[in-house]
């Protein structure tokens, strides 16, 4: 940390969320400043001579030239320690509940200063080291049960090491000293409360390959365009195509130990929705309410623009902190486009040279360095723990046109692309992920994992199903030109199976109590059954079975209803294989021979 050096200047210019202050010699870029009599929070973007350009995280209305600007000499930082989970923060880590109390209003007033973490609450600290142990940065000194499901691990801060000379146990506030280290005669007091500047990635020991899946319970994602632990994914789409619902679905069902959800420049009600719903919904893994592993950050579209920028950095820094404890963390950002727009707005006010569509030339690097903070890795500490951050960013391209700079720069750095399609959304085919244009660069790596689990059948099924969908789109061209009768019987079977794949597998209703989540076992069984019907159906058609009868077999109804089977009943799907055989046998003519139509 730089030494604190207070610099005092005065406001010289105000333009929206940009304030220029004079008399700021000695201030540094990225320092946090307090502006005006109200003490609004801002951050220095640029220093030229004695002038500092400041982005203000609160509404600037009513400010006046001549009012004071005081630099804290510290970069924008977050507070780390127990109490982060289950919180609902604004973009600069102020608890929104405390803002409500301090303002004594349902509306956010300005200049409110509230602590990110509760200073009075006592946590039961459980030491994991003893006096005399040698520890290095990242080692776990002890734990605190933060929520029923999250064990919070208090780590030796970066830059410190030494011999433990004192370790406390029992009830402590985050400001109590819980350990003292001696590094060659230098003593360090360690508290549960630590700080970290948000724009600086927290270091890790070693990066690992992303070859473990992070399942999401969403069939089109897990089966066709999966994301790996530590991976990066983006989900661009026009309004109403399902970006937010899918992000909420990930936050609910993703197999991650910690979820950080940041609503950046989007709707207030969507955050309220999460806030009200998550305490009521149980995590299928732990059986505990989802909120017990979640932290929320909201800088909604009506809150000050500049803080959108800060909110994504606040989020990723909190994610890194839990990763460092050895957890798998999923970070959802909805929407990264609003962050980029905030960058554009500040850049415009700073009169920087505009790049494409007015975005600053550094847009690409900013996005890239944000997504670079994702990853699966060995974190610091002697025990070589593994942790990961998976980042999923929503992108909101104007007019749904993906050629715009934010989408293009995001596609350059993310490894999974779920392209949302307005037409699918209009038909209420959800999730409206276009199966022909989307991709995941993790698919092949993760096949190995699932093949091992599912008797080497997984990748074969996946490839066959995708190829049927691909064939369907080509056959559709023919149908559109000359009608369905031009297709051969085999081709009709392909069309029929592809339709089943779309309607019975890819389509998934987020608001249906059972359909909303499907385990990998369930997905595998469903896919296997659909493809199985395809194989047996082709065979039957070749033996002369009437097409109409085949397509209307009662078992098809059962196939369509597989998705509504509760997880405890999914073994019933296995029995469908026999039912298919039996019913198909019933329509194949006796002694049927191959006689293609």
């Amino acid at each position: 940390m730089p030494d604190k050096k207070e610099v005092k200047g005065v406001i010289e210019r105000i333009s929206g969320s940009l304030v220029v202050a004079g008399g700021m010699e000695g201030a540094s870029m990225q320092d946090v400043v307090h502006i005006g009599e109200l003490g609004l929070v801002g951050e220095i973007l640029e220093v030229k001579g004695d002038k500092a350009s400041i982005q203000v995280y609160e509404e600037t209305s009513g400010l006046m030239p001549g009012e004071p600007v005081v630099s804290t000499g510290e970069p924008l930082s977050v507070e780390l320690g127990p109490g982060i989970i289950e919180q609902f923060y604004d973009g600069i880590q102020r608890p929104l509940e405390l803002i409500e109390k301090a303002a004594n209003s349902h509306f956010i007033s300005r200049g409110i200063s509230v602590p990110a973490l509760d200073r009075n609450k006592k946590w039961a600290f459980n030491p994991k080291v003893k006096v005399g142990d040698e520890v290095i940065a990242g080692d776990i000194l002890g734990t605190v049960q933060e929520t029923v499901v999250v064990e919070h691990r208090i780590m030796v801060p970066f830059g410190l090491k030494g011999k433990v000379t004192k370790i406390e146990s029992g009830e402590h506030t985050i400001e109590d000293v819980i350990a003292v280290l001696d590094d060659n005669g230098k003593k360090y007091e360690i508290k549960m409360l630590q700080r970290w500047p948000v724009r600086k990635p927290r270091p890790v020991a070693q990066r690992l390959a992303p070859n473990v899946p992070m399942t999401t319970g969403q069939r089109v994602v897990d089966a066709f365009f999966p994301v790996a632990l530590g991976g990066t994914a983006c989900v661009p789409g026009p309004f109403g195509s399902g970006k937010t619902v899918i992000q909420h679905q990930f936050a609910k069902w993703a197999q991650a130990q910690i979820v950080v959800y940041v609503g950046c420049g989007e709707r207030g009600n969507e955050m309220t929705d999460v806030l009200l719903e998550f305490p009521e919904l149980d995590d299928p893994q732990s059986g505990q309410p989802l909120m017990k592993r979640t932290t929320l950050i909201a800088n909604t579209s009506n809150m000050p623009v500049a803080a959108r920028e800060a909110s994504v950095y606040t989020a990723i820094t909190l994610a890194e902190y839990y990763r460092d404890m050895g957890y798998s963390v999923a970070l959802m950002a909805d929407s990264t486009s609003r962050w980029a727009e905030a960058l554009r707005e500040m850049s415009g006010r700073l009169e920087e040279m505009p790049g494409e569509e007015g975005y600053p030339a550094y847009l690409g690097t900013r996005l890239a360095s944000f997504y670079e903070r994702a990853g699966r890795c060995i974190v610091n500490g002697k025990d070589q723990r593994e942790g990961s951050i998976t980042v999923i960013g929503a992108v909101s391209p104007p007019g749904g046109d993906l050629s715009e700079p934010v989408t293009q720069n995001t596609l350059r750095v993310t490894k999974v692309f779920w392209g949302l399609d307005a037409n699918l959304a209009y038909q209420r085919h959800f999730p409206a992920i276009n199966w022909l244009s989307s991709y995941s660069l993790y698919t092949e790596r993760l096949d190995a994992y699932w093949n091992e689990k599912f008797d080497d059948q997984w990748s074969g099924l996946r490839i066959e199903a995708m190829s049927l969908l691909e064939q369907e789109s080509q056959l559709n061209e023919i149908v559109r030109l000359v009608g369905i009768d031009a297709l051969s019987r085999d081709e009709r079977m392909v069309m029929e199976t592809a339709k089943s794949l779309r309607e019975d597998f890819l389509h998934q209703n987020a608001f249906h109590e059972i359909d909303t989540y499907a385990s990998m076992e369930k997905q595998f069984k469903m896919l296997r059954t659909i493809v199985d019907f395809h194989h047996q159906g082709l065979e039957a058609l070749r033996k002369g079975a009437p097409m109409n009868k085949l397509f209307n077999l009662p078992v098809r109804e059962q196939i369509a209803r597989m998705r509504y089977l509760e997880e405890k009943d999914i073994n019933q799907i296995d029995a469908l294989d026999e039912v298919i055989k039996e019913q198909i046998n019933g329509i194949v003519p006796v002694g049927g021979e191959t006689n293609a139509a």
Partner: protein, 466 residues
């Protein structure tokens, strides 16, 4: 602090003027301008430096003279006097009475920009509003506290539809204290009087506050009009505990005024010349809809906008759709076929529907029925397109059924009278009746239990009559 007066205007450009040698001027502060001929105008501070201020003049700068015009900085931001007895009154786009009545005695003076609602303090909107229009109630249900715009285009009956909604909207639980706040931005006198006449005839005028900026009123004034209306709405909803419906029309005119200011400031233009901050600017208004914990009132917004060239990807509808909780889109093609209200069902959406419908709210089968109607209509429309190319004969029997369904659907379900007020039960029954045209096994979006309960009796009755 004493307000200071200046005669130091150094430059004028569009709606903007630069005032020099200023002291103690606040950002966003209200400005009063006195012209040599005695005319008074108002403005606000857009940007300040130590010794000069850039002022946006609401009525425009024409006629302002560098030497003889006096500029006074008032020392506070633009506020609106509010009181319960605003109801029944008519104001101009700056919030001054124009109905010949007495000046309003303010109970409070509020900053027209409002403050952001704390998302922690919001209550999730979930109370179903019955509008009596099937395409809304059945397919895109609206709830109290929602912001649901109408995307229209010139020549389409959005005004009639908005008036019908305002006239018919009720909640199932019964009558409660409600109010309508109506803000006109740059619409014609004829359009404005259509609304006033409708409110008067139905007796709603006593419960309505109108803010009128007409096409020939100063364009820059339109920047404040919706904010003034929303400030009044917040007061009625959260201080007087009323359920307020806010109709804002036409947002396209508002955005054009914003573009004008941006151009005058020589800002880097975004798409189609609109400023890059248009999204944020619109959000600070649309997000003023909602409900608050522990408050019984609500603000429901129905902004109306006309899509330039019927283009949904134009920045105004596009950015609106990114902020609002759905959209009702009107279709020129349905309008041409004489169907009122010409709601384009497929791309219309209510994002808050899921928590507003179902058992104890509308009916248990509502969600499934709605999903099925969408799917069936989509399939039917597609089949009809195919039939256009290949002829009816190329369709399978099923597709024929779907094609027939979609025609009937537009004729019976979408089409209704301007004064026809359908209950939600009537709308649901209409939907089920139409579904009898489709083979049951194709109804994949509906639970068996509901098919048995709601569809089977209709099918039985149908087979008896045949």
């Amino acid at each position: 602090m004493l307000p200071r007066e200046y005669r130091t205007i150094s430059s004028l450009s569009g709606p903007l003027m630069m005032v020099e040698k200023t002291q103690d001027v606040r950002y966003d502060e209200l400005v009063e301008i006195s012209l040599a001929n005695g005319e008074k105008r108002r403005g606000r501070v857009l940007e300040i430096e130590t010794d000069r201020a850039l002022v946006q003049v609401f009525e425009g700068t024409s006629g302002i003279d560098g030497e003889d015009t006096k500029v006074r900085f008032v020392g506070k931001v633009l506020t609106l006097p509010v009181a319960r007895n605003m109801l029944g009154r008519v104001f101009n786009g700056r919030g001054e009475p124009i109905d010949g009545g007495a000046p309003l005695i303010a109970e409070q003076n509020l900053d027209i920009n409002g403050m952001p609602m704390n998302p922690f303090s919001r209550d999730y909107p979930s109370e179903f509003i019955q509008t009596g229009i099937s395409t809304i109630d059945g397919l895109n249900p609206m709830v109290r506290g929602q912001k649901l715009p109408i995307f229209s285009a010139s020549g389409l009956p959005h005004n009639r539809m908005a008036a019908q909604i305002a006239r018919q909207a009720t909640v199932i639980s019964g009558h409660e204290d409600f109010a309508v706040v109506f803000a006109a931005m740059g619409i014609t006198f004829e359009e404005a009087s259509f609304f006033m006449e409708d409110f008067r005839r139905t007796g709603a005028l006593q419960r309505t506050v109108l803010y009128i900026n007409l096409a020939d009123d100063p364009a820059i004034e339109r920047i404040s009009t919706p904010r003034i209306a929303l400030t009044a709405a917040e007061y009625l909803a959260f201080e007087c505990n009323m359920h307020v419906v806010v109709i804002l029309t036409d947002l396209t005119n508002y955005c054009e005024a914003l573009r004008e200011i941006s151009a005058a400031r020589k800002e880097v233009p975004g798409r189609r010349g609109y400023p890059g901050y248009l999204y944020t600017d619109l959000a600070t208004m649309y997000e003023r809809a909602g409900r608050l914990k522990g408050k019984s009132g609500s603000i429901t917004q129905i902004p109306i906008l006309t899509m330039p060239e019927d283009d949904k990807t134009h920045p105004i509808p596009d950015l609106t759709g990114y902020i609002t909780e759905g959209q009702i889109i009107l279709s020129r093609s349905l309008h041409r076929q004489g169907i009122y209200p010409p709601v384009d069902v497929m791309p219309s959406l209510s994002r808050l529907k899921d928590k507003g419908i179902g058992k104890d709210k509308t009916r248990e089968d509502h969600a499934d029925l709605m999903n099925q109607l969408f799917a069936a209509y989509a399939r039917g429309k597609e089949a009809k397109e195919l039939a256009v190319i290949l002829g009816e004969g190329a369709l399978s029997d099923e597709d024929k059924a779907f094609a027939k369904f979609s025609t009937e659907f537009e004729d019976k379900y979408v089409r209704q009278g301007e004064y026809e007020n359908r209950t939600i039960k009537e709308t649901l029954e209409l939907g089920w009746n139409l579904l009898t045209m489709i083979p049951v096994k194709e109804l994949k979006r509906i639970r068996d239990a509901y098919i048995d309960k709601y569809l089977k009796p209709l099918l039985d009755a149908k087979s008896k009559t045949e």
